[in-house]
Symmetry: C2
């Protein structure tokens, strides 16, 4: 700074001071990596973990190559109520399927799905749902499937907010993904949902490339199309059931390293969190509790919250979290903002 600049008159300084303070406040906000988080134990745990594992010389320092963080998707990164988006996708595909195979129109469970009777559809037993999933998720090339998912996402709307499903990601979790990546962490999705379903949008929606999506995976079979071009066809064979014990098993298969941090929201994530925390050094395990009926949904039945068929959070799981040192994120108290589209 030159002497001329320093020699600014006192009158001018009195005008400048508020501007300087304002811009300092802006800088502080811009520098906050987690603006959608309220101050509290959850936010503190994330910041301390990131600082402790990435500050050179810190006793908990983790070399960049070992910085792996895994995130469940449904209920952890985006809304899973009233039904998983992938199930909605499968149900929405049935009419097109019945057009190609007219005999399905008079066959259950396709007949019920085609009726559009939501109450009847919701009552379909598990084995019927599996039939719908198998019919709508298999038999096509992997490229065709990916294109189908993208096309559906471009038009389908969530029943509550009437927005594309891809807008229903949690802004605080998006900030955690970015914050970890900015500190050299590789962020992975580890989902019980379909690997290829999530891969179709994960790069655009979360900044997570296909090779960093671990999910329930169907086998594919290599063959050739009519023109003799190589193709991979999706088969009705479950290669990896990426839920519960399948999560650490899937992590080993695809990543081959134990995560340093893991995020989930239901007992399907228990083993992933256990496995993550069982490693040495600093480890972070967190669970999202949906206790905010106003801004999102409230379901448990932990802490007296209403029970749910999708993504439960039982009281025993809540108690286990406290015992194991897994940090529960209260959507209601820890999140200043839930969605990016909120004002």
């Amino acid at each position: 700074m030159s002497r001329a600049t320093l020699g600014i008159g006192k009158k001018l300084a009195s005008l400048w001071l508020p501007l300087v303070l304002l811009s300092l406040a802006t800088v502080a906000r811009a520098a906050d990596p987690l603006p959608s988080w309220n101050d509290g134990a959850a936010r503190k745990a994330i910041v301390e973990f990131v600082k402790g594992t990435t500050t050179p010389g810190s006793p908990g320092f983790v070399p960049p190559a070992d910085r792996i963080a895994t995130f469940d998707q449904d209920g952890t990164l985006w809304v899973e109520q009233p039904m998983y988006a992938q199930v909605m996708f499968c149900l929405d595909r049935v009419p097109a399927l019945a057009k190609a195979k007219p005999e399905l129109a008079n066959t259950e469970p396709f007949k019920t799905v085609l009726s559009g009777d939501r109450a009847a559809i919701a009552k379909l037993p598990q084995e019927d749902l599996v039939k719908v999933l198998a019919a709508t998720l298999t038999g096509m090339s992997v490229e065709q499937f990916s294109a189908d998912v993208r096309q559906w996402l471009a038009t389908a709307k969530d029943p509550r907010w009437h927005r594309p499903y891809t807008e229903l990601t949690y802004q605080p979790m998006q900030e955690v993904l970015q914050y970890l990546r900015a500190h050299g962490y590789k962020t992975y999705i580890v989902t019980g949902g379909g690997q290829d379903f999530v891969r179709a949008y994960a790069e655009k929606v979360y900044g997570i490339p296909p090779e960093q999506v671990v999910g329930s995976a169907l086998g594919t079979s290599y063959g050739y199309d009519k023109e003799g071009r190589p193709m991979l066809t999706r088969e009705a064979q479950l290669l990896l059931n990426d839920d519960k014990a399948g999560k650490p098993e899937g992590i080993h298969l695809v990543i081959g390293r134990r995560p340093r941090a893991a995020f989930g929201n239901s007992p399907g994530d228990q083993q992933m969190l256990e496995y993550t925390r069982a490693g040495d050094g600093a480890r972070l395990a967190m669970l999202v509790l949906h206790d905010d009926a106003k801004r999102e949904y409230a379901y448990g039945p932990a802490q007296g919250l209403p029970d749910s068929k999708v993504g439960t959070f039982p009281q025993a799981f809540y108690d286990q979290a406290a015992k194991q040192g897994w940090i529960v994120i209260s959507m209601k108290n820890d999140w200043r903002r839930v969605f990016a589209f909120e004002k």
Copy 2:
């Protein structure tokens, strides 16, 4: 440059000129990303592919996120003769296994392996070899297995060069890996060998992290050790047979993108090369032909080379390569140097 520097006398200049030429030559050598490659079609194809796909504005430009290159390991990145290193590892583990389970000493095929009779061991039928592999590759935790592989590699020597197996990687291929990575490519190993076996050393030996190793994979099962700590145990269940059609299937499972470049050396790599080339835009498919008995090994039986039980290269495969535009690398003619330890 100052006037004083430019005003250097003619006599001095005559002394400087050779020095300048010498240092220019050094710069040229240092800038050559493939110093172990002779000039020829193979080297040219690699350089043109890398320049064409990574130069902004080039018609074949590939965005960084899509830059995926896959490499077979045995016979492509390191020596596979006279027997795959992993099979040597399994055979070497039998004595320790028999110590823990003495009943094995009188049971075939373990009895033959323990005899040390190389000729008899080489004659063991496929199903006996599978018994040895199952007994030596399964039942332990994934961490224990990784530690066992590292310990073996630290002491085991190749029978011809009497060097650790990890020194028998091909220097020209190491240069290709580095050259691709320097241009934003993610390099993957896609091997018929065991995924966890290769992961134990790939980061140190090739600069390829565990999550970038796709290989034949056993299932693991999640459980708890005696102290109640979570563990993954290696099971005798083949989850992914990463050979032939299994290579593109494994690539889809773990990577989820079609490679831009693929390197192999035998019909086990055919489908990976086909799949790679079937994508649009610039694609590179290459095969290493072992035609150098003096510096490494010579085996085909393509081009009149001796036949081999390990890593064959049939004439039909050679003809197919020419037809498909896959470029055959002649070890003898294309490689100036095979190993880093050569003078």
